[in-house]
Symmetry: C5
Subunit: 305 residues, 5 copies
Amino acid sequence: MISLDEIKVPLDVPQSKRDNYKRIFFEITQGSGRLMLMAGDQKVEHLNDDFYGPGISPEDADPEHLFKIASKARIGAFATQLGLIARYGMDYPHIRYVVKLNSKTHLVKTAQRDPLSLLWLSFEQLDYFLETKSVPIVGVGYTIYPGSEFEAQMLREAAQLVFEAHQRGLIAIIWAYPRGKAVSNETDPHLVAGAAGLGACLGADFVKVNPPSVKEGDPNLALKEAVAAAGRTRVICAGGKETAVKDFLSRLHGQIHIGGTYGNATGRNIHQKPLSEAVAFCNAIAAITFDGVSVEEAFAIYKES
Amino acid sequence: MISLDEIKVPLDVPQSKRDNYKRIFFEITQGSGRLMLMAGDQKVEHLNDDFYGPGISPEDADPEHLFKIASKARIGAFATQLGLIARYGMDYPHIRYVVKLNSKTHLVKTAQRDPLSLLWLSFEQLDYFLETKSVPIVGVGYTIYPGSEFEAQMLREAAQLVFEAHQRGLIAIIWAYPRGKAVSNETDPHLVAGAAGLGACLGADFVKVNPPSVKEGDPNLALKEAVAAAGRTRVICAGGKETAVKDFLSRLHGQIHIGGTYGNATGRNIHQKPLSEAVAFCNAIAAITFDGVSVEEAFAIYKES
Amino acid sequence: MISLDEIKVPLDVPQSKRDNYKRIFFEITQGSGRLMLMAGDQKVEHLNDDFYGPGISPEDADPEHLFKIASKARIGAFATQLGLIARYGMDYPHIRYVVKLNSKTHLVKTAQRDPLSLLWLSFEQLDYFLETKSVPIVGVGYTIYPGSEFEAQMLREAAQLVFEAHQRGLIAIIWAYPRGKAVSNETDPHLVAGAAGLGACLGADFVKVNPPSVKEGDPNLALKEAVAAAGRTRVICAGGKETAVKDFLSRLHGQIHIGGTYGNATGRNIHQKPLSEAVAFCNAIAAITFDGVSVEEAFAIYKES
Amino acid sequence: MISLDEIKVPLDVPQSKRDNYKRIFFEITQGSGRLMLMAGDQKVEHLNDDFYGPGISPEDADPEHLFKIASKARIGAFATQLGLIARYGMDYPHIRYVVKLNSKTHLVKTAQRDPLSLLWLSFEQLDYFLETKSVPIVGVGYTIYPGSEFEAQMLREAAQLVFEAHQRGLIAIIWAYPRGKAVSNETDPHLVAGAAGLGACLGADFVKVNPPSVKEGDPNLALKEAVAAAGRTRVICAGGKETAVKDFLSRLHGQIHIGGTYGNATGRNIHQKPLSEAVAFCNAIAAITFDGVSVEEAFAIYKES
Amino acid sequence: MISLDEIKVPLDVPQSKRDNYKRIFFEITQGSGRLMLMAGDQKVEHLNDDFYGPGISPEDADPEHLFKIASKARIGAFATQLGLIARYGMDYPHIRYVVKLNSKTHLVKTAQRDPLSLLWLSFEQLDYFLETKSVPIVGVGYTIYPGSEFEAQMLREAAQLVFEAHQRGLIAIIWAYPRGKAVSNETDPHLVAGAAGLGACLGADFVKVNPPSVKEGDPNLALKEAVAAAGRTRVICAGGKETAVKDFLSRLHGQIHIGGTYGNATGRNIHQKPLSEAVAFCNAIAAITFDGVSVEEAFAIYKES
C-alpha cells in the first residue's frame, strides 16, 4: 500500500491540481499503486465482434451491460468512448471514467494499410465534462502504434494528451501496441519493452501493453524487461481474448508478482460474461490487483459471488 | 408515446439547452420516439442520378420539389445541404431542417480509392443560421465510412460534430456505412451492427444504417443485433432504391416492429414521385412511424391522399 | 428584366448586407438576372497558352490587355486572380471584379494525378480589399473538380467560400468541372447536370459549367437538365476555345433561349482578339445576355463597333 | 531612371506602408527599376555543392563569405535564410536583406518525387525582425514549382506571402521554376513565360525565372514572351552555374536590353570567387543593371577593382 | 575560454532574454564554447535496443539510470524527452535539460518509407515548464532528415523551433542526419557538410552530425568541411555505437583538435556503462571538451574515478 504522500506527481501537473491527481491515483489504485482498468473501447476497436456471438452472454449485446458491470463491480476505473459516457453517465454517475480519446475499427488490416488512430475530441471539448462534473472523469486513454508508417502523428497526439491530462490533474494511460508492416512479431518481449519505454518517454502514468510471448519458459519473466524500461510509468497488461477464469487469474497474479506489473486492463473477459458473473470476476481481479490475494483466494471470491 | 420527461438528454447538452433538445426530439419524433427523416442529400451523393431519368417524376428535376414535399407532408425533419437551405429556406420557413454537414459524390468508386467525406462547414458558420433563426434547424447529419482507409479523419469529425450539436441543443444523426476495399459485404448483419454500435460510441442520437441482407429468413430479424448494439442511440434504416409502395411500407413496418428500429430515413422513394403522391407516401410512412398503424392502414392513407 | 425586390437573397447574407448583395446582383446582371462574366483566370489555369501564339493578338501577351478590355467593354464583371487586381486595379478602378480564389496550372494531367486546386487567400485577407474599397469587388469564384480523388478538400473550401462571400454581401460563383480518372466523359449532359446541382447544394449564386456535348441533336436542349438541376442557382456556360464570332453568338443565344441558362463566362474568345475587336465582341455578348437581342442584332453590334 | 512618384504601389500595400514600399523599391533598384539580387539560399537548395570543391574559392566554404561580399559590393539586396541572417546580421547591419522563406534540399530528385518546398516561418515570426529593426529587411522570397504534384500547397503559400509582404510594405519576389514529372523541358521559352505570368497572377513584384533555352537564335529574344507575360511584375533571370565573367556580363546585358528583363539574381557566379573578385564582379553586374553601362565598361569595372 | 561578452547572441533572441541566452551558453559549454551533451533520447529512437542486452549494464534497463548519471557527472546538458523529465525531474532538479522535441522509432526502415519525425509538443506547452521553473530547461533539440521525402515538414518545424527557442532565450540544437531513399551514403563528408550548413541556415546554435566516414586518411580531417560550412553554428558529433573508452576519447580529441568541432553528443557509450563508470567516462569526455586536456589525461580521469 502506498500513501498519498508517496505518490510522485509529474511536473506537468500544476500545483493547484496536485491534490486532485493524487486523489485520483489513490482511488483508481485503491491505495495499492496498481490499476484495475475495465476496458470498454471494443465497440469501436472490434465493432460488434466482442459483443455478440457464440460464447458471449446475450446481455453483452447491449452497451449498457458495460455500465452495469462497472457500477456494481469493484474496479479502478472504466475506459470507454465519450459518446457512450454522454448517453449512459446520467444513470451511472458514480463510475470513475477514463475517456478513451482515440479509436479505430479493425476493418482495415495492416497488410492493406498501417494503422492510424486519431484523437476524436479536443481537450477543450473534454473540459466541458470536467467543468459540469456530471460524471467523475479520472483520466484519458490513447492508443499508439509504434512501427506504423503514421506513428509520427500519433506520437505527437499522445505526448500532447499526456501533457494536457496532467495540466488538468488527470491520469494519462497509453495503450502501446507495436503494429505495422514493419513489425513482424508484435509480442516479442524486447519490442514490448520498447513500447513500454516509449510510454515512459511520453510521460504516461500507465502504459498498457500486450503480454509478451515466449517460445519457452515463463512469459511473466519476459515482462520484467518492459517493467524496467517503463521506469516510473507503470506497466499494465491487456487482458486479451476470452480465457478460463482460473487461468486468467493465475496469469494476472504472475504478471504482477513475477513480472512486476502494476495491474491490468481487461475487457472481453469481463463483459462477455453475464452481469453477476462479470461482477464476480471483476471482484476477483480486484482482489489480486488491489489486495494482493492469492489465485486461490481470488478464485473463491469469483465462485462465491 | 413518450413524454418530454422521459427523454434522456445526453450529458454534452448544457443545462440551458436541455429544453431545446427535448423539444426538438419530441417534435421530430412527434412524441413517438421514432424518427421519420426525409433524406435529401442525394444531389451531391448521387449527383443527378436520383433526380432525372426513366421512372422519375419530371418534377424531381428541380430541387424545389424536395422543399415542396417537405413543407406539405407529415415528416419529422428534412435533411439536406446548407446551400440548398440557404436558397429555399425563405420560402419554406416551417420545415424542420437537419443540415447534412458532409457529402461527397459517387464518382470515385471504392476500387479506385476508399471513400472520404469531410465537413463542409464549421459549427461557427452554422451558428449564423442558429442565431438568425431564419429557419428552424433541428439537427445535423454526418456520414462515416468505417473500413475506409480514411476513417480516422471521419471518426474525428463525427465525434466532434455530435459534441458540438449537443452543445447547441441539436440532434446529431450519423449515417454509418461500412465501405472500402477492406469491406467485402457492406450489408452483412454483424457488420451493420458494428456500424450501429460505432454510432453509439460517437454519441449520436440516431444512427442511420443500410438494412442488413440475409441469405435466408427475415432480414428484419437480422436488424435486432444492430438495434441492441446501438443501445440508447436509435437505429433508423435507409430507404434505399425505388421500391413499390406497399413493399416499402411493409418493410418499414417490419423494421420497426420486428427489428426494433426507431424509424427511417427515406429519400429517393419519396422525391422520385410527383408531389401529391410523394406527400401521400410520406404521410403513410409517418403513420407507421409515428402512429404505429398497420401496413394496410398506411397503404390506405397513401391511396386516399 | 427583374427588379431589386424580386432578387431572392440567400439566408446566409446578413440583414445588413442584403442591399449590397441585391445591388451587386442587379449590376452584374444589368437587371436581366443573367450574368456576362469576362473570365481572365487563364494565366494560371493554362499558363501562357491562351495569351501567345498563332491566331492570338499580340496585344494579349500583356496582362493589361485584359484590364483594358474589361474597362472599355460592356460586361457584368471581370474574374481574375487577386494578384493581378492588386497590380492593375489602381488604373482600372471602375471594373467590377470577381476574385478567382483558387487556381492551378494545367501541367499535371489527370492521367498522372487527379486535379487539386486550393484557395490562395483567406477571406480575412480578402477583407483588406473590401475595407479599403480601392476597387469594387463584387464576388468570388472557385473551381471544384467533382470526381477528383481530392474532391473532399475542394467541396469543403467551396462550401465555406459561398458562405463567407454571402456573409460579406458578395456573389459566389462556382466553376464546376467533373474531372479525374473516374470521369470518362466530362461533358456528358447528365454529369454536367450533376455538377450544376452540386453547385446548388453548395449554395452558389452562379455555377459555371462546360456546355454538354451530345452525339446528335441540339446540345442546348441537353442543357435543360442542368438548368433544372441547379434550381435557383443560375447556370452559366464556359465560353471555351476560340470560335468564329457568329458561331459563338449563336451558341450563346441558344444556351440562353433554348437551354435556359443565365449567361456565360467567356475568356479566350474575348481576349485573344485585338482590343477594339474584343470590346466589340463583349458588347455583342452583352447585348444577347442583358438585352435579349437576336444573333443578327448582336452580330451587327460586333461589326459596327 | 524612375522617380519615387512613378513607382506603382500594389493595392495590397496599406496607405501607411506606401512610402516604405516605394523607398525599398527605389533602394534595391537604385532608382533604375531594375534589381540586382545577390542570391544566397544555396546552402539549403544545393547543400554544400556550391560552396566547396574544385573551382570554388576556399573562402566560400564559410557562410560569412556571403555576408562579406554583400556588405562590400554594390548590390540591390541579398537573399538568404533567416537563420543565417540571425547569426551574422549583428555584424552586417547595413546589408538590405531579402528573407528567403522557403527552401528545400536537392537530394530528392524529381524522378523520385515531385518537389515540395514549404514556408519555414510565419509572418508573425518575421514581424519580430521587422519590429526590432536590428537589420533592414526589405523583402521576402519564395520558390514555386509549377507542374509539381504539390503545386497547390505552394501556390497558396506564395499568394499569401505576396499579400503579407505587401501588407508590411515589403517587396515580394517569386522564384518560379516549372518542375516535376509533368515537365519535360524546364527552360522551354513558352513555359518560362507561363511561369512568369503565374508570378504576375500571384502579385509578385519580381519573378525570378531560369533563362529560356532555344535550339537556335538568340535566347534573349525568347525572354520577351516572359517579360510581356509578367506585365507589371518584373522578370529577373537566375544567374545559373559558374560562367566566365565576360560571358556572364554579356548574357546579362542581352537579357536586359534584348529580352527586356529587370535585372538578375546571381549566386554561385558571385560567391564562388574570392572576396575581392566577387565584389568586383558584383560591381560590374550592378553597373549593367543599375547604370546601363555596356559589357565592355562593366568588364573594365570588374578588372579594375 | 570565452567570456560572456564574446558570445554572439543571435538576432532572434530578444533584448530581455540576451543575458539568459549568454548565461546558458556559458554554462553548458562551461566557458569553453564547446558543448558536452549527454544524449538520452534513444528510448524512443531505438526503443529498448540501447538499454538491454549483451554488453549493456543491467542498470541501464531503468530510465532513472540516465538521470543518475546526468546528476552526478560533469556534463554540459542532458537531452531527453519531456515526458521523462516530467517524471524524474523532481528528484533531479539540478540537471540542465535540453528537451528533445521530436522523436520517432526505428521500426520503419528507409527502404519502406522515408523518415518523418514531428514535434511532440508546442512551445506553448513547453512554456509551462519554463514558467514553473521546476527544472532548468536550457534548450531544445530537433532531428531533421535532409533527403527524406518528408523533409519539407521537418525543415519548417526546425526553423520555427530555433526561432521560438531563441525568443525564450534558450539554446537550439539540430540533429542533422541525411536519410531517405535518395541518400546512398549518409556519412559522406560532403553530405555531412551540407547537413551542417543546413543547420546554420536554420539558425541553430549547435548542429549534431554523424562523423563522416572516409575510405582512407583521417576522418577528422573530413570534418573540417562541415565545421566550415556551419559557420557560427557549432558542429558537434554524435557519439555513435559502443566503443572502447580510449578509442572514444581519442576520436573525440581528434574531432575537436583536428576537425575543429565544438564538442560532442554522446548517449550509448555513456549510459550502457554502470553508474560509476559512466560518470567517470563523462568526466573524461568533459575534460577533453571543456578543459582541453590530452587523451592520456582524460583516460587517467576515467581510470581514477
